[in-house]
Symmetry: C3
């Protein structure tokens, strides 16, 4: 691993605060192809943080839109037939246009339709992938998957699977849990912010994936405006953007939890907090550590056929 | 009617409190096939009460999932073509696996697609059926149905239809209204808890049906763990579980109404109350009466061809 | 323009207050064919204001229901294939039955499926059309449309397009923005109530269109009960009903904004405010001006072929 890949946690936190400011100055247009349970909460979370959501998930429109969107979310929670076709169209167009996109492989493993689609789409090299430990293990081909949106496996149990997946597809992989784990296959960040109430609100996890697409959109804009400095390169790095989304989102959850009497009032306070969480909150509260990705996983990835395209 | 069928209201209330505790200790996985308006509120209500919701409503997945779920909800509010097929798959699999399932025949009567599907599905003998008076009367074949989700008929006007339906299909039948009526064709409970604000929030009725599926799941677990005692048999009785769901849900509504300024704040306070309503609240506040089912309805059911399968 | 068409703002405001009272006394049944993001918020807004929502959006049911509904909303935000057919059925039946209906051409212009459907449906002469400036310009055939649900053009930039559209199809046309513009092609009202928080909640605009359908339903009832007086004719006028819906809705937003800490708590307070906003609030707070429609647009409309059916 080259020295230039190392990132200090303090730099990650500074960059997270900077990307939040940038997202609000230049709201990215985020296309959401997502499940029917969380569409409303997801759109409200995006509006609250400062992005512009658009649910364009039908055939003959989703591809067109993915070409002009700032970021794309593909969530497989309720993948009805027309939506599956729309997801394929959008991913193909995002790949051509360079639109950053995030895959949320909800409940894959035991359920065949979404599992097959997740494996098909991941071959198009998502900018980021986010799931719970069971889903990431299933997508990496190393387990049988979850029982819905619960995580039966712990976050660290999925560390090797996450690294392998990241290297195989050139993606940033985020594993959701009490401590979020994010890796690009070379570097791994662990984020210990958040609140358990997020798991008592449906869409608490799904909306973070949409917000990740928004930060990837802001990050791409930062890259386009880059002046060649180290800081600009940092803002344009998808690994940094994925960490930033997670840090901002989970800190907003902490702020909201302190004002909540239960899951109903938490959901309301959380949307308020997403709208008001400031770069200063990020600097004050972020709890981030960074390590090299597990050497074993990297070694394993290098010797396995699925890594033919890795290392990009 | 045999003596053993009689249940004292005090025993019903004790069992309701016990099932609430049991549900929270062993969260049932509740599969929801429901309408597009209430998916989010339904999932949040299930999470709040302590269950694990999963919306699996596409072809080639819904049957698989119904085989492993703790309970299944089939709501016919927006029955698009793919969802209708998914409902058929899920009901067939639930029947084979013994998964308890609840039918919510939203707005049947005047609308032909859902009416035909409701009559088709009810033949698979749902564990429970819940609707307003118009819907229950329409499903029993005795009326023209409602004008959407409103109840044009009063709860007691549907008492005979509910009893007939219960005997014809071996189901517990619940009629929603200011006083909820629940019958298994032998015994009828009336529950006078709740608040009118529940009718000002979309999904206020639909989510109760999902919560009923959760209590049926907890009840089945109780049955599997039964020690042969009278109390254990009570917890495993679908009639008791349906009453328990209704009592807990409507008491949570009362607790929330006292903290609300209108339907918006009520919906929020209600989710908070579902998360905090305690067995002690059930013992304090439950307003339940029990009678034998109407003799006339039973007599009528016994002489009608549709009761060929009754008495199970 | 004939003298009788002129309406004083004070009369418009009085009529708005009267229609609000009438809607609550005789709740109209409002059929919603709308996008998957806002179904829940839309239904809750309708319940809060006092109407009865029903989402009937599948083939072989939507037409039947449109024949008995008090008002119909067709929103093109996520027009999946089955919903497109349901929209066609419903519009055809509404036209036959005289059910007032409103078209919300969400994000038309750049996206081909919804754009084609909007042009097809508008030929059936909606009672009202509501969109942002970009959408109205696109529907009038005078621009390339928006980038989703944002308005790239200002409200007044769409004034001529709105007037042309109104005259071409005999519709009331409403352009949403910081100041709402409403015209029937002869008279134009501008409403300066509201709060920017409405744009931070998904469905903030879509639910207004549903509420417009509710007021059109109440207005039609008023027409049926008319005693021939000037006041009765005013209440039965779709232009007046569209203004009334907008005034009531945006005043509720003002009341809610004063009790909100951000978009999450605003959405909750807004539903509470819709349930409590009173005719007296309308009289106190309404900020309405009325002018003749732009003469240039009328002249242009009269000389263009699309106005062959205008003047109705």
């Amino acid at each position: 691993m080259s020295e230039r890949l190392r990132i200090d946690p303090a730099h990650l936190i500074d960059a997270s605060a900077a990307l939040l400011g940038r997202l609000r100055e230049h709201p990215p247009l985020v296309q959401c192809i997502t499940n029917s349970v969380v569409t409303n909460f997801t759109a409200n979370a995006l509006l609250a943080i400062g992005a512009a959501p658009a649910m364009v998930d039908i055939r003959e429109e989703s591809g067109l839109f993915a070409g002009i969107a700032g970021g794309l979310l593909v969530n497989l929670g309720t993948p009805a037939e027309e939506q599956r076709d729309a997801a394929r169209e959008a991913v193909a167009a995002a790949s051509v246009a360079g639109t950053p996109w995030v895959l949320d492989p909800v409940a894959i493993g035991a359920l065949p339709v979404r599992t097959a689609l997740a494996h098909e789409l991941v071959a198009s090299r998502p900018t980021a992938i986010r799931g719970n430990a069971s889903e990431i293990i299933a997508l990496a081909g190393a387990g049988a998957g979850g029982r819905g949106v619960d995580a039966a496996d712990s976050t660290d149990a999925a560390a090797d699977a996450a690294t392998s997946l990241a290297l195989a597809h050139g993606s940033v992989v985020a594993v959701s849990g009490p401590v979020d784990l994010i890796t690009d296959g070379r570097r791994t960040a662990r984020i210990a912010n958040g609140d358990a109430l997020l798991t008592r609100v449906t869409g608490g996890g799904c909306a973070l994936v949409a917000v990740t697409a928004a930060f990837l959109g802001a990050s791409r804009d930062a890259g386009a405006a880059a002046d060649g400095s180290t800081d600009a390169a940092l803002l344009a790095d998808p690994f940094v953007a994925t960490v930033a989304a997670t840090v901002v989102y989970t800190i907003a959850a902490e702020l909201a939890a302190s004002r909540s009497a239960g899951p109903g009032s938490f959901a309301v306070a959380f949307l308020d907090a997403l709208a008001t969480v400031a770069p200063a909150d990020v600097l004050d509260r972020a709890n981030v550590t960074v390590t090299d990705a597990a050497a074993s996983a990297i070694a394993s990835a290098i010797t396995e056929p699925t890594t033919a395209t890795a290392g990009a």
